[in-house]
Amino acid sequence: MENSKRFDIQNIRSQFPALHQQVYNKPLVYLDNAATTQKPQIVIDRLKTWYEMENSNIHRGVHYLSQQGTVAFESARKTVSTFLNTKFTHEIIFTKGTTDSINLLASSLGKLLVNEGDAVLVSGMEHHSNFVPWQQLCIERKANFLVVGITGTGEIDIEQYKLLLEKRPKIISIAHISNVLGIINPIEEMIRLAHNYDIPVVIDGAQSVCHQKIDVQQLDCDFFAFSGHKMYAPMGVGVLYGKEKWLNAMPPYQFGGEMVSQVSRQETTFNELPFKFEAGTPNIGAVLGLETAIQFIESVGIEQIAVHEEKLIRYALKKLQEIDRLRFIGNALKQASVISFLIGDIHPYDLGMIIDKLGIAIRTGHHCAQPVMEYFGIHGTMRVSFAMYNTFEEIDTFVAAVKKAALMLE
């Protein structure tokens, strides 16, 4: 049934108002989706309805709106839980985004597991959000911060990973898909290897969650973090999935309302999962928008999206290869939604500025991942990243613009 659904690109595009605008009198070609995706009208409408009609504070009121709000909020949690196929709904914690989810872990899981002389392992291709929190934790705890290297094609060095496992890190945190290289890391294998030593694995799913089906039970990851705004949902909401056994064992991250059950002068007992990790009033409207975004993704079909984006990336790789002196940064077989490249010694910023004036939005620079730049001995790249609404024509426009800019900059 799923697979028989037609992928109607024009219909999809028509639902994203931001795509239908001109910048500098040119039709916008939005290829910066790894930074954030545009929002479909129904997500925008969901936010609007929340603030127009439903706005209330949840989990605490006796009145109608508050009760309705609570029901809607908890239904959103259920939707996220089903989307990721978690074992329990209370394994879904709402956060502000990937960065917030990882900071929660570095603080709370860090307190639980990491002591002086211990180690934490990340990779050299992490976004700063999945690098700096762990690095800082290690500095604070006088623990070792281990960074597994990457190969010339931009893949995690699995042999080195195996060696580093011998050091028995207490936590491993790895990106599912690199935001710079688009490389899909072999996380199933990495998780399996880590579990041989009972080491919990955190997956930074910021770049994978809207590009492929995620089944956390099948992956068997211990934690999975992502941001709503990179998957057609509003900004200011994200998710942390954690296995119940870990979330129960972990101390609270922040303290305040909502997350407590009994408070006296002397002591406080904390609320149960998931509320233990949701101190204060959450971004309720955005959580409901996230639910709508998930329903939207499911109505299009995540498999169909993956197939379409795979075609886009293959087409773009082929087209870009026509350009003189162009080289891809990271060139592995398993690549999704993101392409990084350089042309001769053209500065990415120059090229980005010129094609911006041709209506094309890409990202240039180090993409908040300076360690990976170090591996390749470069300061930055030009990065295009795709979403379900991008078209082959847009790639043609983009490649033509790059050619034009490259000529100017030669």
Partner: protein, 145 residues
């Protein structure tokens, strides 16, 4: 030429272009005329680090006027760097301190000096003014000696 006259000259030059590509082509050419910083100064000490592009700036003072030399790793940035140098070069610290960079607005390049661009240009203007301030202080001190 006064600073204002140079600025007007640049505005006139840019008024010939109605297309962004022509403007950028012109900036790329301008970059090639930039008085290049000597390699001995192209070090971290003279580096103005933007997140997107980097600029190196050096100033010297003959007791009357300041002259600048610079470089950038991005050619469009370098073109704008040279515009700024054309405007401020061989002027007294007082003249430099009394002037502004509003002309960039008139040629549609103001956005390049916004802090969010982080291309080093805003910091470069600040640095040029700082040089002017320092040299002004120096010359005041000397005149009191």
């Amino acid at each position: 030429m006064t600073i204002e006259q140079t600025q007007q000259q640049i505005i006139d030059e840019f008024s010939m272009f109605d297309d962004w590509m022509d403007k950028y082509n012109f900036l790329i050419e301008m970059g090639k005329d930039c008085p290049l910083i000597e390699t001995q100064y192209k070090t971290n000490n003279y580096l103005i680090n933007g997140c997107q592009s980097r600029v190196w700036l050096h100033a010297s003072y003959d007791g009357k006027q300041i002259s600048f030399s610079a470089d950038s790793d991005a050619v469009i940035t370098k073109g704008i760097v040279n515009l700024l140098i054309r405007v401020f070069n061989d002027h007294t610290p007082e003249e430099i301190l009394a002037s502004d960079t509003a002309f960039l607005d008139k040629i549609g390049l103001k956005e390049h000096l916004s802090p969010t661009r982080s291309n080093g240009l805003l910091s470069m203007v600040k640095q040029m003014k700082l040089y002017a301030q320092v040299y002004q202080l120096k010359s005041i001190q000397q005149s009191h000696d």
